[in-house]
Symmetry: C3
Subunit: 267 residues, 3 copies
Amino acid sequence: MVATPFFPEHEQVNTGDPRVVEIRLEVEEKEIEIAPGVFMWAFTFNGSVPGPIIVVHEGDYVEMTLVNPSSNELLHNIDFHASAGALGGGSLTQVGPGQEVVLRFRATKAGAFIYHCAPGGTMVPWHVVHGMNGAIMVLPREGLRDPAGNPISYDRAYYVGEQDYYLPRGENGDLSAMTVHPRRWPTASRIRHLIGGHGDYVWERGGFSSPPAVDLETWVIAAGSAGASIHTIRQPRTYAYLSHNLIEAFVFDAKAIWSPRENGTTT
Amino acid sequence: MVATPFFPEHEQVNTGDPRVVEIRLEVEEKEIEIAPGVFMWAFTFNGSVPGPIIVVHEGDYVEMTLVNPSSNELLHNIDFHASAGALGGGSLTQVGPGQEVVLRFRATKAGAFIYHCAPGGTMVPWHVVHGMNGAIMVLPREGLRDPAGNPISYDRAYYVGEQDYYLPRGENGDLSAMTVHPRRWPTASRIRHLIGGHGDYVWERGGFSSPPAVDLETWVIAAGSAGASIHTIRQPRTYAYLSHNLIEAFVFDAKAIWSPRENGTTT
Amino acid sequence: MVATPFFPEHEQVNTGDPRVVEIRLEVEEKEIEIAPGVFMWAFTFNGSVPGPIIVVHEGDYVEMTLVNPSSNELLHNIDFHASAGALGGGSLTQVGPGQEVVLRFRATKAGAFIYHCAPGGTMVPWHVVHGMNGAIMVLPREGLRDPAGNPISYDRAYYVGEQDYYLPRGENGDLSAMTVHPRRWPTASRIRHLIGGHGDYVWERGGFSSPPAVDLETWVIAAGSAGASIHTIRQPRTYAYLSHNLIEAFVFDAKAIWSPRENGTTT
């Protein structure tokens, strides 16, 4: 696995037998820098917020090892929205510092799904807002399809997660240089818009077994969930993928900027 | 009719002639207990919040008698989102204490629809947040269909409504034992997630004449509206159907827990 | 072009060659009256909030002249969500007072799309909440279609935009007679409901190339985006098209009232 926003190398079509895909997720409780000079005590999967994207095909088995190193202080677990039963695996994976656990589940549904720590009660939002969330993309074995059933594919893929940090601010409204703990929790759905582009194909709720919507300007990703979209970039310029709740985008920085180059690479 | 979360007995397919379905809704202004030791002065349909679920088939006539007993203090009425014209019936059903009224409308659209008190102006949100809302499910005469048009059915049905109560809290943040009146109104769409399960079929906006989305982890029910979903429970364990805005779920208790048993019954 | 809520005269089906549609948008910084006796300093396209609706067909070219008169004080530009590249035109259209610019783009996607001023950084939400937003409807050349692919049409069309104004209030909660500047920005998706009617056909995300949902009571327009819906009015009475977040509708006035007459005209 690789750190976000990048994807591991993967095939889009995989018509062979189901595989067992081994994943190792290590919980790291550590300080991260979320803006220049602004540090936060975070809980992470493999060191990044959000955690790494996992890619499998429908019918594959995910065999995840969840490691909670003895240097940590808290109990953690994992709830895979891609799995069924046992609270998404949450009731089978609770591990204290110094413990690890192996969970195997079958990815029976095609789509984009969240995973997150869910150790119970108010600790659920508390751990999530400290950074413990990521996503898994379960591709149909035959690959993605447009509304008419024709195969579609992508040249490259990125994983962008919107994370709410609730941070104290100085008197002038600035985030000063300090170490902070998040204090509150996510509150709303995310409105996504690609400035200067369209969602040529959008799976707003993440389910690849329903036909994608086409040609959208803006769409809504439900809070605490994952969706997927395909964009055709027609001009090598700067694009912003942002919350079209514009205050979130421009005051609270809920935006991702990328610059596709003419040669197909991206900065 | 039976109290929520239960459904009245009903046929899923009804290819006979349209029926006249008689419904009696009595407004009860009374104190209810919404958490252990916490009482609120509520306005209810038939004593529960939300009010009872009504089930008819497309083309049936709903003949509702709305009773406002003389023991009440306020004007009430009812706006059926399943009906057309006359403000959903609101302009024909306003009754004072000691009055009753009969409204007949035809359920011309298949889907899940809200009903609620709507006596005008700021009294609309005021009565709704005091508890005066419920839902009607208008089934297609031929029953529900998957996206390919094949018939689908369910073994049992439950009605879960999310209700915002805006309650004063003590200095320590707890709801202490007291009688309270709601003070504010609903503010956002509801993000639904079934922990450990999937929405095998989801009518996010409630309309049964559009194909359901399939295999979702999470979906969005619009504020003040109704949707429907079918879940296949594969393991007799505890499930939580909750807001996946996790602060709403775990701090403000926007969750419903149920435990399907191996023998098919539910606690 | 005509002022909202009215549409310019247009054909719904246009199977001829693509046209060049010339549009002139003039930015007016001026005081407007948003409630009786309540005035606000606004930034407008052609004097109204929202700006005028533009109607073209898929494949047409929009040739817009954006005029920033010398009587204005600020830089403005325009981001068309209907266009691709160059930040929706935003990076090509920045004009200071006394300047004008011509932008031509091709409407390659069918749907309802927002346009808005986006001069960069926190000025983006600042200009939008002062009033600088509108919409363009790009009709399919063959006209609109129901989910089965059959043509559908409308008798008349209106454009209703919900605009958040964040206004200071007096001690008693009233908006007193005063001139105000907006202070904050939009925060959530809009839940739409037509009291006493249904969305017979709803393009919730605006894309006309996906089949519309049918027979909805309520739907969600993403913040900062446009959708479209067709309603069949069966009774000449008063209807309210409003936010079904009822506090927004009845306390913050997020509603539009109209009264279709028997003769087909509207007040």
